[in-house]
Symmetry: C2
Subunit: 453 residues, 2 copies
Amino acid sequence: MAASLEKNAPHQVVIVGGGFGGLYAAKTLAKANVNVTLIDKRNFHLFQPLLYQVATGTLSPADISSPLRFVLRKSKNTQVLLGEVNNIDPKAQQVSVGDRLVPYDTLIVATGANHSYLGKDNWKDFAPGLKTVEDAIEIRRRIFSAFEAAERETDPEKRRALLTFVIVGGGPTGVELAGAIAELAHKTLREDFRNIDTSEAKILLLQGGNRILPYIAPELSQAATAALQKLGVVIQTNTRVTNIENDIVTFKQGDEVQEIPAKTILWAAGVKASAMGKVLADSTGVECDRAGRVMVEPDLTIKGYENIFVVGDLANFSYQNGQPLPGVAPVAKQEGEYVARLIRLRLQGRTLPQFSYNDVGSLAMIGQNLAVVDLGLIKLQGFIAWVFWLLIHIYFLIEFDTKLVVVIQWAWNYITRNRRSRLITGREAFLEDKIVNDSSHYQTPEKKQPASI
Amino acid sequence: MAASLEKNAPHQVVIVGGGFGGLYAAKTLAKANVNVTLIDKRNFHLFQPLLYQVATGTLSPADISSPLRFVLRKSKNTQVLLGEVNNIDPKAQQVSVGDRLVPYDTLIVATGANHSYLGKDNWKDFAPGLKTVEDAIEIRRRIFSAFEAAERETDPEKRRALLTFVIVGGGPTGVELAGAIAELAHKTLREDFRNIDTSEAKILLLQGGNRILPYIAPELSQAATAALQKLGVVIQTNTRVTNIENDIVTFKQGDEVQEIPAKTILWAAGVKASAMGKVLADSTGVECDRAGRVMVEPDLTIKGYENIFVVGDLANFSYQNGQPLPGVAPVAKQEGEYVARLIRLRLQGRTLPQFSYNDVGSLAMIGQNLAVVDLGLIKLQGFIAWVFWLLIHIYFLIEFDTKLVVVIQWAWNYITRNRRSRLITGREAFLEDKIVNDSSHYQTPEKKQPASI
């Protein structure tokens, strides 16, 4: 047991990151005899598994976000600090947030992962990825702006490029994006346009490996392929993207090189650990893997520091079947809960056996009434998998925020294929009003008018 | 009757602007024997009267927006064109959208109004106004970031400035913003913070005239004043803002000059007509008033052009009691409907008597269970006015989009004081992850990881 855990003063737990790992750790510590400080750059927790539905216009960002303070308002031992940790001092046991030092007895680092462009960071502007609310709004803007521009375009070639959507990466995010865009094009939007037939849109899903959804059983992967193809998605496996420029993507399948003009290119291919991994490596000497993930001990601490834990996408935990656990929400959640329980037990002089992930299975939504669910022994596809997917997500959303009305709205939007949230917004999303310089002509110096009623 | 209205080819109606005026004109023309083109810079109609609820974290932008194509999908005679009109040629009867020319037989201009900073456009950055979704998100970011920064701040003076909110302008928008911020500070957020007492926030409402809500009856204005004061809002009438700088607002009441440090300054004071007014003036010679509004004829056409109509906030219609009609949604809606009916009748060789606004009354929401409603003979305040306000808005929202679930959610959020939507978002809303340059260390060239499950 570390010396720092044997003090009499209230034990200080600092959690960096309010994703699934950090937040479930904080929730599990709510009634422990510790003080908790949760530090995050954002003021809300994001239910990332549904972010693709924001990007495709079904949900609003707030539908899948909960203000951290709101979620933790009843945890009187917990305070939330909005800020970015830029340094960790493991000797002094403190982290720096701006110019402020926050001391800890136990530190939990759960800062997750970002996109990785495989060393080609210049692809970023042409092919945005999907990690943040801002990413989702940007992707939403691109998708719906492309349909709008196609409606205006008279040149058939340009129109074709505007109606071509390329998704790089055949994991769950890529599959869900491809399915949702296909549904938009072939179902939701068909009635809305007058000059284009949105169902002529081409949706191309590029996968590096030999099948999509490599983490689930091959037969489900096959079922997903068939379902996507039925929706009109063209899937190309064993394909490596070799270049992305403005509106052009180049890729290679075997020796065949293809160059496709596409206005909308989305990146769902690679992730790298957040920068906090490097901060930890520099300050503690802990090893990171090639994806920047921190190599953790069997109890999720890092080597030489019994009071520093790493959980979630930032952690490389390879003690089950030799492979690192996947970067998915259930892993982060279970790791966060485990660490919190371990901290509580340690304060009583007890401990826990090493962390072990209880695999709840994998699932991916393809479209209306179509999903694949791999629970190990049980494998579901089609409508029944879709219902299962729906129930699981309703369960998680309710557990999280008890906002039943939101869940009903969400399910309703989903079932009715409503795309009410398909706003094209953002700072550069619309043409600014021309500035009128003749100000004397355009001002009302005295009169104050109601802007709304 | 204009010659252009006597053709045999389908009559082309072009509507510029998808606000209340333009959209109700389009809806009313849905079954007429005309072709309609609705041109807007945005792809959605915004229910502006509730925009302050987005700015204060109760609703999401999509909750009060409807995609124009969705609203008009059943109107097969109508097409929506996303773009900005930059010129009008009344002789050739066409408008320019980018480099595209759109011909019309009848033109309806309904481009609304923007903020006016009374000639002090440099105040804009320090005191944002509330007209667009982006404005609302920016104001939301500022309000909630101020509370967050106050929670971190240890200097009492700086903390006071962070917890000071100044709203310039005592019309409906100013009153609604002040009431909503007061409720946040005194009710919603109190449980969420640990270091600050949010109820110590100072909310200051500055009004140029001698009472707030000058458009409603004096006794209701008094009731609103009392209700706001009870919520903790300080109201200062007969007050002119003389300067706004970063975090400091200076104002004058009589001879007394006050300078108040305030992190959040919001502008709800003046509006000016959109730039299309000037475009119309330049191309047709029509007169505009000092606020840039187009002087319209009794039938909402402009002088010399029987086939050009101006409706909504852009129009100055002064044939009822000598005053221009206020820039509110019901006026725009009725004007849009009138013009559409007139166009239909003209095609049958008939006409309509001059436009006449049926004043449905004025109302403003102050806070939970508190509103004021002025229906002329009937004046309501307090809880009953609040219920009335709620029913009116539910009625309008349902009429508009039949999204009952959204309305239920909205009413539910409103009644339960939920502020689920209080996300701090936007391009500059959060600290970017530090960029890690050692890319070899942080990339996974082959492995594609699922970003979500």
